[in-house]
């Protein structure tokens, strides 16, 4: 009995800490994101439509692939990978969409708080994040990806979301 307890304890204590589990739904979120661009009226759209991804390499890879030669209006889509370490909100001042990695961690909340002042569509993925400043928050329900929409936050950033998207999303 004692030896089993010791074995269990040591198995935890001496294990190498691996990175946080990555999501298996990145291609799906990428496709959703592409769809979102079509259901939102973007103010002051220039030649480039910039999507910033923070801490989610798989999503970045999927988006990079799926947005090849795609446009939003007349703007070319550009995707950029970022790391939360040394986060500076000024880096995102030209972003149309900023996507956070999955999870409701203290880093996520700190970043969300910083991003509130920017006029970008912020997409998150975790419990309660829509009420903390993101505009679209993904949720996993019964093995299907769903999303909730914080319309008030969208309006404050002058982003007009189509009624069709609002209908499919879960209102906050």
């Amino acid at each position: 009995m004692k030896s089993l307890v010791i074995l269990l304890l040591t198995s935890f204590l001496f294990t190498s800490f691996s990175a946080e589990a990555s999501s298996e739904d990145a291609p799906l979120r990428s496709a959703f994101t592409l769809q979102f661009t079509r259901y939102i009226e973007w103010p002051n759209l220039g030649e480039q439509f910039l999507i910033d991804v923070i801490d989610d390499q798989q999503l970045y890879d999927s988006l990079k692939e799926s947005t090849k030669d795609k446009k939003v209006g007349t703007a070319n889509i550009s995707v950029r990978m970022n790391n939360h370490e040394g986060f500076e909100s000024s880096r995102y001042s030209k972003s149309q969409i900023i996507i956070l990695a999955k999870g409701n961690t203290k880093e996520t909340k700190t970043i969300l708080n910083e991003l509130k002042k920017l006029n970008a569509l912020i997409i998150s993925y975790g419990d309660d994040l829509a009420s903390m400043g993101s505009i679209i928050n993904f949720l996993m329900l019964d093995n299907h990806l769903r999303f909730e929409i914080n319309q008030k936050a969208a309006e404050s950033k002058k982003l007009k979301i189509s009624s069709q998207l609002l209908k499919l999303g879960k209102p906050l």
């Binding site: 935890f12 800490f17 259901y39 909340k109 903390m132 996993m140 093995n143 990806l145």
Partner: protein
Amino acid sequence: MKKISTLLFITQFLSIGSYAEDKKLEEMSLEELMDVKVSVASNKETTTRNSPGIVSLITAEEIAHSGARDLIDVLNSVPGFNFASDVEGVTGLGFRGIWGLEGKILLIIDGQEMNESLYGVNAFGNHFPVNLIQRIEIIRGPGSAIYGGNAELAVIKIITKNAEDLKGASATVTYGQTDKTYARRNIELAFGKVDEKWNYSAIGLIGQGQQSDRNYTDSTGNKFSFQSNSSQDPTFLDLSANNGELHAQFIYDIYHNTERTAYGTNLSTPGNMNFNSILADVNYKIKVNSQFTITPDLSIKFNEPYRDLDSQANEIAGILFNKTVTRSKFKISSSYEFTDRVNLSTGLEGYEDSAIDHVGSFQNGKKSVQYYNAAIFSQLSAETDLVNFTAGARFEDNSAFDSSFVPRISLVKQINSFHTKFLYSKAFKNPSIENINYATNGIEPEKTSVAEIELGNQFSDKLYISSNFFKIAIDQPIVYNYAAGDSYTNFGHTGTRGFEFEGKFKDTWGLAQFNYSHYQADGNDVDAFSVPDQANSHLALPTHKASISANLNLLGENYWIDPALIFVGTRYGYDYNSDLAAMAIKKFEPVWLANLYFEKRNFITPKLNLGVGVFNILNQDLNLIQAYNGGHPPLPGQSREYVLKLNYSVNI
């Protein structure tokens, strides 16, 4: 209307969207994307790892894949939980080696506390609509600081499918057959609609079941077959309506049992015994501002447990029984976000219990009694760079017994894939109305201390392992003593210590899960729970339990094969001994429950799902031993059962 009623008679299952493999994701519409099924590796673990408690989550998918026949199947696969028996054929839950039937384990369905208010009991066995559960959240540890005097050991929260989940009508038919007779024949119906203002849903279960088809020997050596003598027939209706922040819930639960075992010496013929409950609740969440919400909640609960008015019940004193109790409760709770990392939740709660004895009188000579209870509770949660910290407490006062104050504290630290939790909680179990009624010399709340440590690691996106260690100490446990004239007494001390281990492995082929739980009696001086010459065990509850199961998706997206093996270790209990012609302690050898369930989704039509399975393949007898020395022999377990399920759903 005709269309709806027709749909309600068609069987259903969860709507599972399928990947249109010939179509790329980026070419799909939003509606099509929402139908795509996703393989989730770590969502659940992420949630449970950050919780300030030891938590199990069970999803609708897992329940469906396993073919679970009722809540007993679901909880048998959760570490620490074991079933045992009370008197009158009632099946109840024990947790971590402690018998929890009378108000020690809280069962919540859609926010409503289901423990009846007379004894605090939940009776299990073909009772609740398991196929209409969206998810189950189990706090494997005390919840008294939040939930009060019925959450001493654990809290089981069931969330059924709501309007959003259903968005249409569904039906599930379950048929179970043993070698001798039917084991269950149930129909579960559901309807949910979302419109611009209102979301409303109705779910229901109506059915018939039999606890076992084996023979039972009573405490005097008389035998009878449980076939046709152990019915468990549920009628369950759960209505829900939401309009913005307004929420209303209504539950109607009539659970009919055939009663013949009485207190150990059987009745000459079977009789009818019911657990009847009606619950209603309305609450409204007021958002004062973006940081502050207040939720007033008004509820009423009517219970009529152990109702037995049949004439043969007069054969044995105490069986003829018809007491009702109504609990009227008002609660107001608030949540304040100081910052996005600091939250304070506070609440006030008051209720009146009003009980009536319809066939006799209470021990004080009165036909009715009233008791009043008031509580205040608060919890602060803070995320700091060092650790996530939760501290809370509840103070509760009752007109019939001493007050309770139960603080709790939890420290949760996550470092990349590794997490650890340190939890310490005080908890309590309030005396029930019948505890007060049958107290020999006054009665006071049980006072409990629980210390827990959890360690867990997400080794990869496929493998997650966690383990916890616990120590439970209960002072003044309320002990039932039938031999001493149906009485309740606060008696000395009891407790357990042990550990639980869980491992999950997920890959493209599906999910495999393993868990093991162990307890040792620790400081028990209650004779009614102890096993002679086995100081480490408590009656009825095995010191070792293990479960291994898998959801295998090997034959294609719509085919699921679910093997499961549950090991229930050696148990001890009192049984009729023919050599002695009396009840005597007995060792019950370990039991292996082997199950195999096969599920075919999109069977014939896209919305029809078929499930077939065999439960207890080895035909072993996982009997239900009385969890205290109360003179009642074990109830026989269900024998091998062949199960067929058909499910159909229609979107409206």
